[in-house]
Amino acid sequence: MARVEINMGLNRVEGDLEIGVTLEDGVVVDARTIGTLYRGFEQILVGRSPRDAMVITPRVCGICGTAHLYAAVLALEQAWNLPVPANATRIRNLCLMAEGIQNDLRQTFLFFAPDFCNPRYQDHPLFAELMAAFEPFKGGLHRETLRVTRRVVEIVAHFGGQWPHSSYMLPGGVVTPPDERRVLACRAVLDEARAWYERRVIGAPLDEWLALDSAESLFAWLEAPARAASALGLMTRFTRSLDMHRLGAGIPHMISFGSWCDPLQPGSHLLPAGFYDGDSGRVQALDQARINEHVRHSWFRPYAGGRHPFEGETVPDFQPGGDRYTWAKAPRYGDRVVQTGPLAELLIAGDPLITSLHAAEGGNAWLRQFARVRRAGVELLRARRMLDELAANLDAPHYLAPPPGSERDGQGCGMVMAARGALGHWVKIKDGVVERYQIVTPTAWNASPRDSSGEMGHWERSLIGVKVRDPDDPVEIGHLIRSHDPCLVCTVHMLGSGRKLRFAP
């Protein structure tokens, strides 16, 4: 059995993140994102049956396991050159969209918005309204989000048996075909979610909202009383009053791996992949060969420059106290630092409203959060289309068993847009078992540390220049980091006191 050390543990998920910042006169002049957990997921896969990736990798992340499953299965299908029936792709997409809706609503109303209930804002004219909406377990929107998202993940359970952590996609398809019962049960969930989204989140019909195509039309549209009172309206009024549309731009370059495989055109996506060059303002075709990871500032055995995931290595080398400060690697696209997430996804796909807002105000914390709310609408619309297509093709195959001998040695990559952005799995198979497994998560891109040439990661860059009023309760940093949708919770903390604060730990 071949055992080769491979790339890193996925500490970069789920709450195990600390941010170290240096303040001078209350302004952030330096920032470091610190991944504080090493689990070694990729090493666990080495030597195992390749299919086990469908059980092991969803457990990398409790909130986006469907995305990991999708990426794992695509990597194996590429390695084994397997066709995928259209219905299997539709079901995979439907489930990924459901997980995405769940994420986008929970991130917005359970993780991002509760910061508005900080006593800091008790004199703000909107404070009473904010508390009534977002106070955990008491606010109306908080409670309704718990109820609606609980329903939305039922869609994954109808086809996968449970959410989170199922393994219902497999090389060649999915385990369960559509039938009238499943289609209609999912339809009922979607209809309920859509009605709530229209009534409470945007205060308008979905089609009308998705048809908005310019910054001017949006701001005029938001003036109407129903929209102003909606969650989107309230959040927009409040966050813009904090100037969040001028803060937290971070890195101008963006990356998307493309959203939802096209059921009828293998290899292409319903929303296209691409690299947005922040210097030229142009979208270029994505070339996965340009992806590479650096470890210069990470707790891994050093190597020079960046390595493509197929060639990566992960040897823990824990040396606290020096200039290496995290368990996260630094992924780069060529030599570019990039950001990823719903803003990147919709901008690269050419969403007219997002393109217009980005042109008018640039990337910023408000726009990132706004894009996430908008994507939930796109997902609601697209999920319905997937269901309708399934209904029209109930008898088409959902699974094509791999022909004997197809599960051969080789390599493959699976790339998807998870809720937080670009997610890739790279697998090498030798002697019938996993020789290497490499995962680059969305948060790895966004929470990247400095690279070999000392370039900061996106979150780090987005914090520079931010004014922090109370170093003991740096709510400004909380807003900005949470606008990037860090995995679940992000531990923002600072050490020391006085004029100059040093990094943690």
Binding site: V60, R143, L146, T149, Q162, H165, S167
Partner: protein
């Protein structure tokens, strides 16, 4: 009121997400109807980290009562027993867990990672993970087997990857009553770990007549060839459906035995190890010769609707 502090160690957050799917009671219901006061949850609390740190200080100083400590995630002990692969503010989280547990009325391991080590402890166990009071199936983890919390309870193992939403909320609700909580031999709440996943599986009739799939994607039983652990695994998955609608085995995904201390097992997870045509590991408590005799008869008795796999599952 029962105060509750939830902390995550080497975790994916799946148990925190799963508990949001509970309905009877829901997490909100635990707070509103069962007198749980949520002091802290890393994903849901909106107070500042300063508040979090002060809360811990007050609990450790005995100024804040801690009735229930929930731990989600493996206990990371690497490198070399320092636990620093999982730290908070430069301190190993395993020590924070240990200190808080000494103050807690009850300690609940939420999920297989906290109970037994879980997926992170799979070979080669890169971060030297263990459970709170077990190391895989062996008694003794972060705490020795004889350790007891303030209410004289061992660590309560709400196993599962993730734990079933109702196994979590119902165990917590029961703890608030002060009534005795019945546990099984692995310190799992007996009510949620006494039936097997096979019970209530809609593929049961296929198993009954020995109609077994050799490929995924079909309607029949997954036990003989595709690695399903349903007949061996104690959990409520098919008697209290996931997300209120289904289960992995109903959908056609093998049960991977995620509530067991050995999860994930070392061999191929989608293949059943067999002697001849019969699985090495038989349904819980079954004798091999009798089982084989029964299977041979069952196959001959199978009606066409079962043999031809005409039944929706």
């Amino acid at each position: 009121m029962a105060t509750l502090f939830w902390m995550q160690t080497g975790a994916c957050g799946g148990d925190s997400l799963a508990i949001l799917s509970a309905e009877a009671p829901s997490l909100e219901g635990l707070l509103a109807e069962h007198g749980v006061e949520l002091l802290w949850h890393p994903s849901l609390s909106h107070q500042s980290m300063r508040h979090h740190d002060q809360l811990i200080e007050r609990i450790l100083a005995g100024e804040q009562t801690l009735d229930i400590l929930c731990v989600e995630g493996s206990i990371v002990t690497a490198p070399r027993g320092t636990g620093l692969y999982d730290s908070y503010r430069g301190r190993a989280k395993m020590y924070l867990v240990r200190d808080l547990a000494q103050r807690a009325g009850a300690v609940v391991a939420m999920g297989t990672c906290a109970a037994f080590g879980g997926v992170h402890a799979a070979p080669p166990n890169p971060s030297d993970c263990i459970g709170l009071q077990f190391d895989k199936a062996a008694p003794g983890g972060l705490f020795p087997p004889e350790w007891r919390s303030r209410r004289d309870l061992p660590v309560i193992n709400v196993a599962g990857c993730p734990a079933h939403p109702h196994a979590m909320t119902q165990t917590l609700a029961w703890l608030t009553t002060g009534l005795p909580l019945r546990l099984d031999g692995l310190n799992r709440p007996a009510a949620h770990f006494s039936s097997v996943v096979h019970q209530g599986c809609t593929r049961n009739e296929y198993h009954e007549y020995d109609v077994e799939e050799t490929e995924l994607g079909g309607r029949a039983c997954l036990f003989f060839n595709l690695g399903c652990q349903g007949p061996l695994t104690q959990a409520v998955c098919n008697s209290d459906l996931w997300n209120g609608v289904s289960s992995k085995t109903r959908a056609g995904v093998p049960c991977f035995g995620c509530t067991a201390p050995t999860f994930p097992r070392d061999e191929d997870l989608f293949r059943t190890e067999k002697v001849g045509e019969v699985p090495i590991h038989l349904p819980l408590g079954v004798e091999r010769p009798r089982y084989m005799a029964y299977k041979n008869l069952a196959r001959a008795a199978a009606p066409p609707r079962v043999k031809n796999k005409k039944m929706e599952t």
